[in-house]
């Protein structure tokens, strides 16, 4: 009988791999189907956005924020605008705040649809991804109506928003969220969420305890998946989020242990529902007429000072640390993103799991490569 010796093999996953969600590379050490460690290698999409920020006026940097995270560009716009506004001491008009919230929550829905859809696709379930994309198509058309762009929206401006909602937008947005909450999610859950193969693939995989989540500075849905009910929209309300009634879903070990990949998946499904509720309330409360942009001085300058503002993006906390020296351009702008910290935990989680589970872990953490590299 031949003895099979244990043999370590180093494999290269990426930079172009369908399940790495962008240009991202892993150095995987395996022994057969068992993985010893997956070390991430990032930086392929480093564009030096923070350096670019130092070279241009505050207003001109807005389109670059779209490119931080292409799946939630409007939320990135909003985070940057709020940072600059707070340091400059200006406020956006009420109607603009409502339009921002409607746009941001619709974008959150669109981003989560891709997040859950792509996770399922990576696991081999192609049909649900197409269902999610069908709904995202409606969202894309809605955003096109609102601001003319389907992916990189560039809708929020310093002091307000670019355009008022066009005729028919409100009705379409309302029927979209109603369709999602009352029809699509039920259908989607019946189709895949409670599918026993999916549960076997996700439950008890990539378990992150609350302590570990805090240690690795996880944020957003990944943190909530570990059972920590913390959402900046509720705990540190920015914009007008304190006017809405919604819940914070968190992981409870639905089919396995608290903090496993299924919990993170389920938190995103539940968050789509909560975003629908916020959009509906915002539409009902929004004043019909009103200013949509506060006039800002030209050239726009900010008094010297520094500030850290964080907002809740689909991929968790998006923080901007802005230092102004009193000029037309930022002195230093640091962008802290959710995927950056989610990426650090993968190396730890990958120890001793099956190779196929790595894809489930990456997918459930919902990392987007340009957000890591900036």
């Amino acid at each position: 009988m031949t003895e099979f010796a244990l043999e370590e093999m180093i494999l290269n996953m990426g930079p172009h791999h369908p399940s790495t969600h962008g240009v991202l590379r892993f150095i995987v050490r395996t022994d057969g189907e068992m993985m010893l460690r997956a070390t991430p290698d990032v930086g392929f999409l480093h564009r030096g956005i923070e350096k670019i920020a130092e070279l241009m006026p505050y207003e001109s940097f807005m389109p670059y924020t779209d490119r931080i995270d292409y799946l939630s560009s409007l939320n990135c716009n909003l985070g940057y605008a709020l940072t600059v506004e707070r340091l400059a001491g200006i406020e956006a008009p009420e109607k603009a705040e409502y339009l921002r919230v409607i746009g941001a929550e619709l974008t959150r829905i669109g981003s989560h649809l891709i997040a859950v859809g792509a996770l399922l696709l990576d696991l081999g379930a192609v049909t649900p991804f197409v269902h999610a994309l069908r709904e995202r198509e409606t969202y894309n058309s809605l955003m096109e109506m609102l601001c003319g762009a389907r992916l990189t929206h560039h809708y929020v401006r310093i002091g307000g928003v670019a355009f008022d909602a066009p005729d028919g937008f409100i009705e379409k947005a309302l029927s979209f969220v109603n369709h999602l909450e009352y029809e699509f999610l039920d259908e989607f859950n019946k189709l895949i969420s409670f599918n026993s193969i999916l549960i076997k693939r996700l439950a008890n995989v990539g378990i992150i305890t609350p302590e570990k989540a805090l240690e690795f500075t996880l944020v957003g849905p990944n943190l909530r998946g570990s059972g920590i009910k913390f959402d900046l929209r509720k705990d540190e309300p920015y914009s007008i989020y304190d006017r809405f009634d919604f819940e914070i879903p968190s992981g409870s070990g639905k089919f396995g242990v608290q903090g496993d990949a299924y919990d993170r998946y389920w938190v995103r499904i539940e968050e789509i529902k909560q975003s629908c509720r916020i959009v509906r309330q915002a539409i009902n409360q929004m004043p019909e007429h009103g200013e949509i942009k506060t006039k800002i001085s030209k050239p726009f300058k900010i008094p010297a000072g520094e500030i850290y503002v964080r907002t809740e993006c689909p991929r968790g906390e998006l923080g901007f640390y802005l230092i102004s020296a009193g000029g037309k351009t930022p002195y230093r702008l640091k962008i802290r993103t959710g995927s950056f910290s989610a990426m650090t935990i993968i190396e730890e989680l990958s120890e001793g799991v099956m190779v196929a589970d790595l894809v489930a872990i990456i997918g459930s953490l919902d990392v987007v490569a340009p957000e890591i590299d900036r």
Binding site: V42, G43, H46, G48, E50, K51, R86, L87, G89, L214, E215, F216, T217, F230, D235, E236, P237, D242, G305, E306, I307, Y308, V309, R310, E317, G319, Y321, I323, Y331, R332, K334, R336, F340, S341, M343, T344, D373, R374
Partner: protein
């Protein structure tokens, strides 16, 4: 705000009590967050107190960055406490020549990549860091781009990076 359990003033008093010997200056930021300036030698002990003191429990590291002030460098850490529902910003300056500071990895494990990024883009060395290598840029890249005196390379491994001024 609803969750402002404690006024910033009270927090300043509490921190003054716990960290009196370390704080050089305490300041309010425009959104009422607290900014404390410390000496870089005391960084590790300040972080340890902020995280582990039972009354403070600033156990979330939100953000870390480095800044080039041309005459000096600074490292900034943003911490959050679930207990107090408060944020605090810790800032420490260091000399421009050979910038070096203690790594706080022993207190906050999650700072690993943040410090690597600061090292990569600003060239600040972190003493005691477990894996201080470049993170975003290629390992053979020269210079640190976020420094104010950074000179753009004209070429990298045969790739022309210099931008043509008139490409009309």
């Amino acid at each position: 705000m609803r969750h402002n359990l404690m006024e910033t003033k009270k927090l300043i008093e509490l921190l003054g009590e716990k960290l009196s010997s370390f704080i050089v200056k305490a300041d309010k930021m425009p959104n009422n967050d607290l900014l404390i300036l410390i000496k870089k030698e005391s960084l590790l002990s300040v972080m340890d107190t902020l995280k582990n003191d039972l009354e403070l429990k600033f156990n979330v590291l939100m953000n870390h960055l480095g800044v080039d002030y041309t005459e000096s460098f600074a490292v900034i850490y943003n911490l959050y406490s679930f207990k107090l529902k408060k944020k605090v910003t810790v800032k420490a300056y260091m000399e421009h020549e050979n910038p070096e500071v203690d790594s706080i990895e022993s207190v906050f494990k999650g700072v690993n990549w943040f410090e690597r990024e600061t090292y990569d883009l600003l060239g600040i060395r972190f003493r005691g860091h477990s894996n201080l290598k470049r993170l975003l840029l290629p390992s053979d890249w020269e210079g640190h781009p976020l420094r104010k005196d950074y000179i753009y390379p004209e070429e990298y491994n045969g790739l022309i990076l210099k931008r043509e001024e008139n490409c009309k």
